[in-house]
């Protein structure tokens, strides 16, 4: 075996390969220019139109804008196939394809498509133009209602516990521990309830919105559990005092349990009424 001829062949191959590679490298010189005018369908020049050009192979893109005379110019382009998009306010985007040859200065005049505007459809500017303030109002509303929802859901825990402990605190029971535990949990329930209610009541109202669907039931039930959440602790304190004095719960205070149950039931139904929404 003689290694010299094989080295020679290898060297020849490398030279041949490099020379082959050098052709496309030379072809990739970014020396082409594309320029033109952008007009509307009535042949009027369009200033400030956006031109977006993308090489189909490399996916590299360049963007420019027309001047006051509707002229644009894109320099230093690598030759190849390109997709050219032109867009401007009030017009739809128009896309076309162009092949750019090396070292050339090509002209591509572009016409914007779409002569129709929202005004042509009969929409007033008040209908079509939004504002950051309107969006901020919607954002605040959603944010506050999410807090309302979370606190409301958390409140179900002390609420259920209060109702369960109520059985031990009332009736013939003489245990002061149960009574105090019931009182403490009831206080937590009430505090969380009114905190949750605050976020619902203070959430911004959106003008021109008619209440539809399950939210109507949710709001209607608030007229039951709302007064119930005020009345229940009042009656509870009266019952607590009577019990603490060794008396049997009597008078209006004896309605504490029933009012609490109705309030809790309305509250639970209120949560269920909106738990199928997102």
């Amino acid at each position: 075996m003689n290694p010299k001829p094989s080295k020679f062949i290898l060297g020849a191959w490398i030279i041949a390969l490099l020379s082959l590679l050098s052709f496309p490298l030379r072809a990739q010189v970014a020396d082409a220019t594309l320029a033109g005018t952008v007009t509307d369908p009535a042949s009027k020049v369009v200033p400030n139109a956006k031109i977006f050009i993308k090489n189909v192979v490399t996916r590299q893109s360049v963007e420019t804008q027309t001047d006051s005379a509707g002229l644009y110019k894109l320099s230093n382009l690598v030759p190849g196939d390109y997709e050219v998009s032109v867009s401007a306010e009030g017009f739809s985007t128009n896309t076309t394809k162009v092949m750019i040859a090396a070292g050339t200065k090509q002209t591509l005049n572009l016409t914007l498509a779409g002569v129709l505007s929202l005004g042509d459809l009969g929409f007033s500017p008040a209908q079509t133009q939004g504002s950051a303030q309107d969006q901020a109002r919607l954002n605040k509303r959603s944010h506050m209602l999410k807090i309302h929802q979370r606190i409301g859901l958390i409140d179900t825990v002390p609420l259920v516990a209060t109702v369960i402990l109520g059985a031990g605190a009332g009736g013939k029971s003489t245990s002061s521990t149960d009574r105090f535990a019931h009182l403490a949990l009831g206080s937590v329930t009430g505090d969380l309830y009114f905190l949750s209610a605050y976020y619902a009541i203070r959430a911004p109202k959106i003008q021109g919105t008619e209440t539809r669907g399950s939210i109507r039931l949710h709001k209607a039930l608030a007229w039951i559990h709302g007064p119930g959440m005020i009345l229940t602790p009042i009656l509870g304190i009266m019952a607590f005092d009577q019990k603490s004095n060794g008396e049997k719960v009597h008078g209006i205070a004896s309605a504490h349990g029933a009012v609490a149950i109705v309030t809790a039931a309305a509250y639970g139904a209120s949560i269920l009424s909106v738990s199928i929404k997102f």
Partner: protein, 175 residues
């Protein structure tokens, strides 16, 4: 008066025919593991202007007109789709005038919604013509990410990204 008439002549001379949207039902569909939601709007307005064998169409609908049967959910949708700042959904398309003669249309749509523009290529629509009217039906395969919308969630589970929009429209040709 003469000035306005002179202005009017080139406008009418340029337009060969027009299409006007007579009736429409647009329905978005959102899927959550726990339930499905459809929001419907009949408030779209549209026009098509034909010239030299090509028709440019513009269809627009206020976001707040979509009704899912629950005003609270609709307001939440309005919020997540940035409807306060961008109150309209607009759809633009360009079709050859001859498309009205075929049973199906493949339309390239440019949709502006929630402050974003998305393009849908070759969306298939079925059409039936009756006299001067054409009824078009089809589904636009929209997704929430197309418009950079954060998916709303229920019980910390987000809705699916797909939000197909069913389109039913009746267009009337006006010479």
């Amino acid at each position: 008066m003469v000035f306005f008439l002179l202005l009017g002549i080139p406008i009418f001379a340029q337009t060969d025919s027009q299409w006007v949207l007579e009736q429409s039902t647009l329905t978005y569909h959102v899927t959550h593991p726990l339930h499905q939601v459809d929001g419907v709007s009949h408030a779209a307005r549209g026009k098509g202007v034909c010239h030299a064998g090509q028709c440019d169409f513009l269809i627009a609908v206020p976001v707040k007109t979509f009704d899912s049967g629950d005003s609270n959910r609709d307001l939440h949708m309005l919020q997540v789709t940035r409807g306060g700042q961008f109150p309209m959904v607009t759809v633009r398309t360009r079709l050859p005038e001859s498309a009205s003669a075929s049973a199906t249309i493949h339309a390239d749509l440019e949709i502006q919604f929630a402050g974003q523009t998305a393009k849908y290529d070759q969306v298939l629509f079925q059409q039936k013509s009756q006299g001067n009217e054409i009824r078009i039906t089809g589904t636009i395969p929209a997704t929430l990410t197309d418009f950079k919308i954060d998916p709303p969630s229920l019980l910390t589970v987000a809705v699916k990204n797909e939000m197909p929009v069913r389109v039913e429209m009746t267009w009337q040709r006006q010479k």
